[in-house]
Symmetry: C5
Subunit: 324 residues, 5 copies
């Protein structure tokens, strides 16, 4: 589906559906035009080649949506790939969709397979106040990028809540073993992915701001710079969260070693006290004919006393070692 918005100070906003007019708009420098390709048909995709005459490598990139964010300069236009967070994405499965973007001096082309929430929002904002958005093609792009980046915030919040939940579970001792480890490592991997995607897009924006492309007007720089600041926050926080997760793993190991020590001490104290007593009772349970102690009147109390002394002595010894 191809949606085309065109705007000029004189004519205001028009949504164009007539294909002939669409082809005219490509060369029309008096209008600013946004071509949005959503779930494009092969015929629509062909327009990129036939009508716009874009470089075949960029069209290849549009057709095979498995690329990292990037920015290529083809002189007449810039070609960008940015990643938007998909609605089904969560902290368990962080998923982004690719938007391929061509930025010319008088047009913006967005090309994407799934419906994108950011673009829907931009369309709504255009319909409310076209003049505020259609200042220039690059300002339109800055608006799109702003909405794309805004969608990273809820994901960050999800990650943050998950970190908190895991922290609680680990420190409150309710570890369910393998499951929690699985969740920790899934979280870690998704945070790495988030960090990577945002870092690549920060780089892309830095190039747009610094490299002085003709397509980017100086007046739009603060808006792009603002988008980059938001992404920098995403990137910094995902680093922070990854540190927190790493600390969780460390804390888990430390608390496991503490618990093992405690169990070991309990075991040692029990065994060390009980085993000598067993030996003592064993001795007087032997069936030798001649065992003088057995005939003593106070033999039994004597042995019981001995056992209490041995046990008490060992207990006192471990007490002093702070094992009990």
């Amino acid at each position: 589906m191809l949606t085309v918005f065109t705007y000029s100070e004189a004519d205001g906003l028009t949504q164009v559906r007539d294909m002939a007019r669409i082809r005219e708009l490509i060369a029309d420098k008096t209008h600013i035009t946004w071509f949005d390709f959503e779930k494009p048909t092969p015929q629509e995709t062909e327009l990129l080649d036939i009508a716009f005459n874009f470089h075949p490598l960029t069209i290849d990139d549009c057709l095979s949506p498995r690329h990292q964010p990037k920015l290529d300069n083809y002189g007449e236009y810039l070609f960008l790939i940015v990643h938007e967070v998909l609605p089904e994405s969560s902290e368990r499965d962080f998923k982004t969709g690719e938007i391929d973007i061509y930025l010319g001096k008088h047009y913006l082309i967005t090309y994407h397979r799934p419906r994108m929430r950011s673009l829907d929002t931009v369309k709504e904002r255009i319909e409310k106040n076209p003049r505020a958005i259609f200042r220039s093609a690059d300002f339109l792009l800055a608006t799109v990028l702003d909405e794309v980046v805004d969608l990273y915030s809820p994901v960050l919040d999800q990650f943050y809540r998950k970190v908190m939940v895991l922290e609680d579970q680990l420190l409150s001792d309710q570890e369910s073993g393998k499951n929690i480890l699985n969740e920790i490592f899934t979280l870690k991997r998704n945070l790495s992915r988030l960090k990577q995607v945002s870092a690549l897009q920060i780089e892309l924006l830095t190039h747009m701001i610094k490299d002085g492309y003709d397509e980017i007007l100086p007046v739009s720089i603060p808006y792009l710079s603002n988008v980059r600041d938001h992404l920098a926050r995403v990137s910094d926080l995902s680093d922070n969260y990854r540190d927190s997760v790493a600390s969780l793993v460390e804390a888990h190991l430390l608390s496991a070693s503490n618990k093992a020590n405690e169990a070991m001490k309990v075991l040692t104290v029990f065994a060390a006290i009980m085993l000598p007593l067993t030996v003592i009772t064993g001795i007087y349970g032997m069936n030798f004919k001649i065992m003088p102690e057995l005939d003593w009147i106070y033999g039994y109390p004597f042995v019981l006393t001995l056992m209490v002394i041995v046990a008490g002595g060992l207990f006192y010894y471990f007490k002093r070692k702070k094992w009990v």
Copy 2:
């Protein structure tokens, strides 16, 4: 609340309360003026737009105080965000508040929600000696930043004391398990945050010193450079403390493994000595009709001697292995 101080060599210091005069001061190049917005009302905030005509993105940043420190150049003025340590901040919960700053050639604007201790101090210093502070707008800014950075030192000291306390607790064996881990990881996270905030502000100051903005006079550079040196110390020390905390965790693991080994050895020695004795006593506790040893006159002393020899032999063996 909007506080306005204006100063000129001729007129000296005046605190202005009349709104009409305030509006005049914006364009008055013969005076240096400081506008301090504290807990600003919406009407006061509107001044930024209407009276000063600042870029809408900077006003957005003022309104939503969740940004990292940064520096943006808008030609006519610089826009800075710096972070001050809040009084309720501690090593358990490191908290900073945002001060948004506009620096023009003849004015300084500070915009912040909570009352800021640094700005109070600057106001006191101004009232004592306005001439020393109002040399230029950027010198006024350097003074503000100096006071902001000074407030990081007590926090660093708190962190240092906490590291020392944790070190003592861990090495003196009084670990209370989970609590201490919690404290260690809280400390680590706060030190990371401190490091991040100071690193971003060092970067901001480096840009102010190096990038040759019109608003920064050469004569103020040493003062900004001095502020940066203080921040560099904060940043270096927070790195050091983080290393110390990491060493603490390592030390804890090492000492835990030492203790586990010790307990394991004690257990092994006890079990290895007592279990054979139990078997021996068990043998002579059996009720077989025909057990010649039971009838020997010296059967009992013989078995006791045997037990002493077995126990002594094993003890000697473990002694040689340095387990006891």
Copy 3:
């Protein structure tokens, strides 16, 4: 074996077998020529020196195929070494073969010992549509590099599947001890190698794109840039997989420490409950003449009850400690 393809707009594609014509082609600037040396004989290799007059260091590099990817500029021509994934390569044994490449303005020379799949594919594509490939010598090179880099993708997929298999094995507890460790560390080493090879080739391509060599036409830059993007994906993903493998090792350690704790607790509970019971039975198994309890009518039930109470008490104690 030396295969030579030459092409000009006028004459179209010719495969040359006549050695005299081959020597002519070296200087012929009206044709674009590709010389492919496969398992070259010493006589063929000599051509590099005699006919092409290449720098002896480059010929040394061709003869001793143990180099890292690199790019050297010899003014008249560029000398490149790139690495292709060999067909026998797998995630257990990642193997690459070296292609030495000379790029002049009108010729491309590829020199390699084993048969290379990428070059076979390029030959097929040339035979189908020579015009599309023989635009220029550097475009031909870009095509070769594209095919070389394409062969990294299946290896990446193999690595990915192996990571998944190891993850399943480790988390499903079917560790077969040493074997799985061996596989993990083999995988890690091969991922490091993949990362290293791709990083070096990214650097090489960056130089080709940025350094403005005469042999590289501006029109070919996007194609080289495209190859570099693919390599960047290989490099990023191999980093990701290495992180995943590192997490696996960590997960394994964590789950091992969990299991050790569990076993330790089971042991402690058993020993702590059974050892006191053994002592009790031992006491009443002693053979003292005078042991009043033995004569009590309810002595036996009393002791059994005592044992139940002791065992129950200890069990309740460990239950409250959440050890059972």
Copy 4:
């Protein structure tokens, strides 16, 4: 105490004590003068302000000696802070003292609180051969820095010896637990500090060499470069030693886990062999009226044989598992 040496080709070396002459020397471009402030009195410190007219920020830095090494350029003069190793410094407590230095074209000022060994050495060398040292103010500075850096070598040697001692103690098994950990982490922290101080001073020297200050003559560059090489060695070696210490900690953990395994195996073997024997003796120690085995003539030898077989079988089993 203020010591002043002044030198000119014509007049040779003079030590000046007369305050009036000292003030003259500040402006005297025909002499090279070294002003050394040691444990300066407030009056002496005031000279920096009144007589030399130095920037107030540098005087602040002199008065509060808690700075990292740094270099500031004030146009007329350079201001440096360098750190000298104090004599009471050791590998247990690495301590440096601050020397604040002003370098003008015709003078060098050193300002420090404790007596500094490096400056004493320079004074001795001056008295022996003033001409060799007073080539220029910056050569004098290079000489001072050389002596300062020379004092790092004995500290490095101390650190090295300590690493060796700890290595021996750890690997020879004489760990005294907490003490050695304490020493390891103290050493690590001091090595970090040494690394940090030397890295900052390398940076300072690099600026002096590269930035082309008027105060630094080209002919002095090799001498400063030589000082930097020495510091680079200090920095590299302190990195090496830190690696060694980290390896020590790792080695300790590994050897602890080896020992725990060994102890665990000994315990397991003992328990696994002895416990079944205890059960067997327990069985024939039961007092059932009807137990046919008890009446067998060879009952007792049979049971003893059974016990030997059980023990031998288990021992053989553990032998094959290489646990004994």
Copy 5:
């Protein structure tokens, strides 16, 4: 011992022994001369000062051979320090010797204490074909450096073999405890040293290639570049091997924790099965007058059956937990 080779197209190669002629050669721009100082006497060393008039700092460096590789430019000549692998060096004790080198436009000076294998090889090659080597002073240097770097390869191979041996030992379970740890950490330290030395020499070569010194002719650049490539391989491989060693340590820890778990489980199963049986036999070994079971006809078989059931039940329980 001072060996002097001089060469010119006209005169061919001459080995000069006459001291007067040697002094002439220093200024003779028609010859290329190599002065090799081996185990130099103090008189020979003095030549550097008196005859060549080199900077005293470089002579100091020659006299105290404890420097890292470096390159200093003294205008008229370059001064280099490079490190050659000594023949007694092995993977247990990696040792390098220092060669101090002066490179002028018409001469090369090598100064070293021990005999150096690389220089011997160069001398042999000179005697076979002086023309191939004496193209220029810097080509001679490139030849020397090539031979120096070639000697790193056998050391790398030794390290590789050692890594393989350690891998086999660790994974085949024949750990001899402390010894193997000692070897691992020695290997790691030597690999670090190798990495450091090669990295510093790569840097040195990069400066020679990039900085455009007068002493380095463009035609020699490919040869220096070739030497750098070899060093890069040394550096990359030593990184790889260090990674492998680190993996070994990790593998060792993992396998140790696996073994500890296994031993723990065996112990737990044995103890958990045997201890209850001991209690049962203990009960019926008590000597109470009234114990009805003892008088039952089937008391003994009943108890035996009970014991089998208890043991079987526990065994089945641990079987299901996969502990046996």
